[in-house]
């Protein structure tokens, strides 16, 4: 197991280096300059500012400078968005709200989704099943920003249950964005669990469990549930991505000072080091999620446990 994880860490490193390289050059191709109101500056003034951030250097030099800093864990300093602040500090200070709504959304979504899926499978072709199908279709087809606005309007404005936006009331502020983020994982989990539960419930070992005298709930929870979870783990990765991309939009709508919101703004103002830093941060997050997913497989499915050499 340790060897397997070690191997994966090396791959992670290579992946990150590639992502950093691609992002770096793609960003440089983009039109626009991080120096705001660059037009109003005289060429001399511009040269001074560019020199300060190393933007006057030839591209390869900039690239190697950046990668060298990255190796040492230095993400550089913000050019204009947070003038002169260390990118690592910016990201860390912004992580809290994002992590909170992301985690809450994911948790709420998967738990409810699993529940809906289970109930739908056990009460197949009843109104419970159809109801959960409708919820799932809505969750998948309606984008999170539409949900976000609806939640703001009904739960926030009309019924005044939760704050409409901003990050001022602690947990209460996080409720609506979390729900908005939860819809996609909820819908995905519900569909996957339903399909898989129905398949598992029809398998031979469930019949054998029945033949042992197991009751309906014992069969569902002791025998079927764990087996039905296996494919859900596969979509945990894409779900995490949806939480990330969802948070880019949702944080904007709810005016939450999170990474997503900051990332979107940094692109608008071409703050190179913030864009790079956030991209790398998101990449690390995703790669770690994928690693966790692969390890989870082994935990849930003993047949996969031995892969990657002996533990």
């Amino acid at each position: 197991m340790a060897r397997y994880i070690g191997k994966r860490l090396i791959y992670m490193f290579i992946t990150l280096a590639l992502i950093a390289t691609f992002t770096f050059f793609l960003m440089k191709i983009l039109p626009g300059s991080p120096i705001a109101s660059a037009d109003k500056l005289s060429p001399e003034q511009r040269a001074v500012v560019e020199a300060r951030y190393g933007l006057d250097q030839p591209l390869p030099v900039q690239y190697f400078d950046y990668m060298f800093g990255l190796l040492q864990g230095d993400l550089g300093i913000s050019i204009n968005q947070f003038k002169g602040a260390d990118v690592t500090d910016v990201i860390l200070s912004r992580m809290g709200p994002s992590a909170q709504i992301g985690f809450q959304g994911m948790l709420l979504g998967t738990v409810l989704g699993i529940l809906f899926g289970m109930v739908a499978a056990l009460r197949q072709n009843t109104w419970v099943d159809y109801g959960s199908t409708i919820v799932a279709i809505i969750g998948i087809s309606i984008p999170s920003f539409v949900f976000a606005s609806m939640l703001q309007y009904w739960l926030g404005l009309k019924w005044d249950l939760f704050p409409v936006a901003l990050w001022k009331d602690g947990f209460m502020s996080s409720v609506l964005p979390s729900i908005a983020l939860a819809m996609f994982p909820l819908a995905t989990a519900a569909r996957f669990i339903r399909t898989e539960m129905i398949e598992v419930l029809g398998s031979d070992y469930i019949t054998l469990a029945k033949a042992k005298g197991a009751s309906g709930s014992e069969i569902a929870f002791k025998h079927a549930f764990r087996n039905a979870l296996i494919p859900l783990i596969t979509v945990l990765g894409p779900m995490a991505v949806s939480i990330l991309t969802g948070s880019l939009v949702v944080e904007q709508i709810f005016a939450i000072p999170g990474i997503g919101e900051q990332f979107v703004k940094s692109i608008m103002v071409s703050d190179f080091s913030i864009i790079m830093g956030t991209t790398i941060f998101f990449s690390v997050f995703l790669i770690v999620v994928i690693l966790i997913v692969d390890i989870l497989y082994g935990v849930i499915d003993p047949r996969i446990r031995l892969s990657g050499g002996k533990s």
Binding site: S203, D204, Y205, T207, L208, A209, K210, A211, K212, G213, A214, S215, G216, K222, H223, R226, N227, I230, I300, D301, P302, R303
Partner: protein, 351 residues
């Protein structure tokens, strides 16, 4: 002998999109204590459905008991509630399935799968149940059972898995063990081992076995009595010798003729012509009539009743009616009958 299970006039249908499939159309048999009753027949003859209906393992939404009763311990199993059935399943009646590769839960250690019915039906502690499970594994011939309790099904071979399934089935010393083609998915050498094991265990715990198979070689090996099923009915039932050496129903003749034989000179294998009847719209008379060269006019119109051949032997064919013309069974069957005292071709040289 003590009757442990009685199936009387059992009729069962499946509701499908195509209509009502009459899968069992009046099945009668008794199971005696300690005996092995083999149910043979081709795919779709209703043998698996019969036993699954005894265990009530058929999907309740689509299957329906139309008539008859299954008497066990003074109770009619067709009328019991789910809760009451759960107390019988795995304790009094248990089952071994066809495919050991899929009948164990892949994500549960086998130890827990064996202790599950023990803990469910007996009031003993987990540690005691574990000991029982280890003893069971030893009983079914699993080497180093203590070490293997924590392993998962994928760490065992097919034959070993079927041994585990047998251990699970025997966990509560059931009165009836239903084996639904337990050797079909195994290769021949393992088949023989599993059959030996089952015979051994039956002696040890004195259980009755209903053995479903379409392999007549296996039947000859394990059964005391044989019921031949066709088109959702039993067409002939008798002791294993009676069925093998004095068969009366043309379908049984066909089955026996289609058994490959080592000493047959002309090595062409016989196959019964035609296909099994469509149970969405079962034939009016004898279900086998359309495939039988011995069919008479009445076979097309009226289903034959059971005619008694001996105290233990009955067959549902009009050929046994006193007014029926005498027909010659296939030569291969006559050869067999010559060895059977009491058959009309008996030559006096038994075995």
């Amino acid at each position: 002998m003590e009757k442990i299970l009685q199936v009387k006039d059992l009729e069962l249908s499946f509701h499908t999109f195509g209509g009502e499939v009459k899968a069992i159309r009046g099945v009668n048999f008794d199971l005696y204590k300690g005996e092995t009753l083999a149910i043979v027949g081709e795919s779709g003859s209703g043998k698996s459905v019969t036993t699954k209906s005894i265990m009530r393992l058929l999907p309740e939404a689509t299957s329906e008991f139309k008539n008859g009763e299954i008497l066990f311990g003074g109770r009619d199993l067709t009328k019991l509630s789910d809760k009451e059935m759960q107390k019988i399943r795995g304790k009094d009646i248990s089952m071994i399935f066809q495919d050991p590769m899929t009948s164990l839960n892949p994500t549960m250690p086998i130890g827990r799968q064996i202790t599950e019915p023990i803990l469910k039906h007996q009031k003993i502690s987990k540690d005691e149940a574990k000991k029982v499970a280890i003893d069971l594994l030893r009983l079914v011939g699993m080497p180093k059972p203590e070490l293997r309790m924590k392993q998962y099904p994928h760490q065992f071979s097919g034959g070993q898995r079927q041994r585990i399934v047998i251990a699970i089935a025997l966990a509560c010393n059931p009165q009836i063990l239903i084996a639904d083609e337990p050797t079909t998915a195994l290769d021949v050498t393992i088949q023989a081992q599993i059959l030996e094991l089952m015979k051994d265990l039956q002696k040890k715990i004195d259980t009755s076995i209903i053995f479903i198979t379409h392999d007549l070689g296996v039947v000859a090996n394990v059964a005391d009595r044989v019921a031949v099923m066709y088109g959702g009915k039993i067409v002939e039932i008798g002791t294993v010798d009676e069925i093998f050496y004095n068969p009366q129903h043309p379908y049984t003749w066909g089955l026996l003729s289609s058994m490959p034989s080592m000493d047959a000179e002309d090595a062409k294998l016989y196959a019964i012509p035609g296909t099994p009847p469509d149970l969405l719209d079962p034939p009016k008379g004898d279900a086998f009539a359309l495939r039988s060269e011995y069919a008479m006019k009445i076979d097309m119109e009226q289903p034959p009743p059971f005619f008694k051949v001996s105290d233990t032997h009955m067959a549902a064919t009009w050929l046994l009616h006193p007014e029926a013309p005498a027909v010659e069974p296939p030569e291969m069957v006559i050869e067999r009958m010559k060895k059977f005292p009491g058959s009309r071709y008996y030559e006096g040289s038994a075995n």
